[in-house]
C-alpha cells in the first residue's frame, strides 16, 4: 500500500512503487483530467505538480510522490486556475483540447514564478508542451491575459 496526497486529499493505493503517477491518478483515483501523450517525457500532456514543480507524471514512479503533495488540474489553486480558465475561455485557446491540461499546468508555474512574463519567458516556460493542433499563438496570448488578470486580482 502506498500513501499519497493528491489535491489535498489522502489516498492509500494498492500499486507497485514503480507504477507511473499518471496511471495511479487516472486509473486508480479516476482523476482523468491529466492526459497520456507520449509516455516518454517528450510532450508535456501529463504534467502535474509535485510539491509545486511541473513533473511529467508518465515517467515518474509513484514512489517519487510518497511524502509529497501532488496537484492535478482538478485541484489547481484558484489564484492560478481562475485567471487561467478565464483567459483560456476568452481567447478560445483549445482546438481538440488534448494537450491543454499540460499547457495549463505548465502555464500555472510560469504565472506563479513570474507576474508579468514576456514572450521570451513564455517560450522558455512552454516550449516543452507540444500541441499537435498548433494553438501556440493563442496559448501565448492567453498567458499574457491570465497574467494581467492575476495581477489585477492581487
Amino acid at each position: 500500500m502506498i500513501q499519497l496526497t493528491v489535491n489535498g486529499k489522502q489516498y492509500e493505493v494498492d500499486v507497485l512503487p514503480d507504477m507511473p503517477i499518471l496511471w495511479v491518478i487516472r486509473d486508480k483515483l479516476k482523476l482523468t483530467g491529466t492526459k497520456f501523450g507520449c509516455g516518454a517525457a517528450q510532450c508535456g500532456a501529463c504534467t502535474v505538480h509535485l510539491d509545486g514543480q511541473g513533473i511529467r507524471s508518465c515517467i515518474s514512479p509513484v514512489s517519487r510522490a510518497v511524502g509529497k503533495e501532488i496537484v492535478t488540474i482538478e485541484g489547481l489553486q484558484p489564484s492560478l486556475s481562475k485567471p487561467l480558465m478565464e483567459a483560456w475561455t476568452e481567447i478560445d485557446v483549445p482546438q481538440c483540447g488534448y494537450c491543454q491540461t499540460g499547457q495549463i499546468m505548465a502555464a500555472a508555474i510560469l504565472l506563479r514564478e513570474n507576474n508579468d512574463p514576456s514572450d521570451q519567458d513564455i517560450d522558455n516556460a512552454m516550449s516543452g508542451n507540444i500541441c499537435r493542433c498548433g494553438t501556440y499563438q493563442r496559448i501565448r496570448k492567453a498567458i499574457h491575459l491570465a497574467a494581467e488578470l492575476k495581477r489585477s486580482a492581487t
Partner: protein
C-alpha cells in the same frame, strides 16, 4: 768580480724559474675560464649547480611538457565527449544524445543551471536513471553550470579549453588543484561514466590524465 757576476747571474736565473713555476701552478689551481669573454658571466658556476643551458635539463623539461600536452590530449577526448560536453554547451540550451543535438523541449539553463519554470531539470531527470530507450537519465543533482559561470566546452580547441581550465574566472576554482577535485569527486561527473555511450577513458584513467597534465606543468597544447 767575474765570480761575483757569475754568482749573481746564477741566482737571478733561479729566481726567474721560481716565479715562472709559481705563476704556472696558480693557473693550474684556478678553474678553467671560458674562451669567449663576451659571455655574461666569465666565472663558471660550481659543478654542483646545473647551468641554465644544461642540455640534459632542457631535454627533461621538454619531455615533461610533451607528456603534459599528451595527457591533456587524452583527457580532452573525454571533456568533449557527449557525456561531458552536453552539459557544457556554448548556448543556454543543454545538448542531448551522442550527436549532441540541442535538448528537445527547448529547455534552458536558467540562472542556477537547474532549468526554468515547468522545465526544471529535475522535473524529468530524477534521482536515478530511468530504464528504457530514450528515457531521462537521472541524478539527485542534475544541472548545468550556472548562467554566471557557464563553463563552456563546446567549440573549444584543446588549447582554448586548457587555457580556460587555467583561468579561475572560467572555473570558479581558487586553484587548478580544485579542477582535479572536481573531475575526481563530483558526483555528476562520476555519473557521466555510468550511462549511455561511455566516454573513451574510464573515470580512473581520465582523472589520472588530468592529474598528469597538471603535475607536469599544465602545458598548453599547440592548437
Amino acid at each position: 768580480m767575474k765570480n761575483f757576476h757569475f754568482t749573481l747571474f746564477h741566482h737571478t736565473w733561479k729566481v726567474i724559474v721560481c716565479i715562472v713555476l709559481a705563476i704556472a701552478s696558480v693557473n693550474l689551481m684556478l678553474p678553467a675560464r671560458p674562451t669567449n669573454t663576451n659571455r655574461s658571466s666569465a666565472i663558471a658556476p660550481p659543478a654542483t649547480i646545473m647551468p641554465k643551458n644544461n642540455p640534459a635539463a632542457d631535454d627533461n623539461e621538454k619531455k615533461r611538457e610533451q607528456e603534459s600536452k599528451a595527457a591533456f590530449a587524452e583527457a580532452y577526448t573525454v571533456f568533449m565527449h557527449p557525456r561531458c560536453m552536453n552539459c557544457h554547451p556554448s548556448g543556454d540550451v543543454p545538448l542531448q544524445g551522442d550527436d549532441s543535438h540541442q535538448h528537445t523541449q527547448g529547455v534552458k539553463r536558467g540562472p542556477d543551471g537547474k532549468g526554468l519554470y515547468a522545465l526544471k531539470c529535475s522535473n524529468c531527470h530524477q534521482s536515478v536513471d530511468l530504464e528504457g530507450e530514450h528515457l531521462p537519465p537521472g541524478h539527485p543533482n542534475w544541472h548545468l553550470p550556472t548562467a554566471a559561470r557557464p563553463m563552456i566546452f563546446q567549440g573549444k580547441s584543446p588549447r582554448q579549453l586548457a587555457m580556460s581550465f587555467k583561468d579561475s574566472t572560467f572555473t570558479g576554482f581558487r586553484s587548478i588543484d580544485q579542477l582535479v577535485e572536481h573531475v575526481e569527486h563530483d558526483k555528476l561527473v562520476i555519473h557521466s561514466f555510468t550511462y549511455g555511450t561511455r566516454p573513451p577513458l574510464t573515470h580512473e584513467d581520465f582523472v589520472a590524465k588530468v592529474k598528469e597534465w597538471i603535475d607536469k606543468g599544465a602545458a598548453l597544447p599547440d592548437k
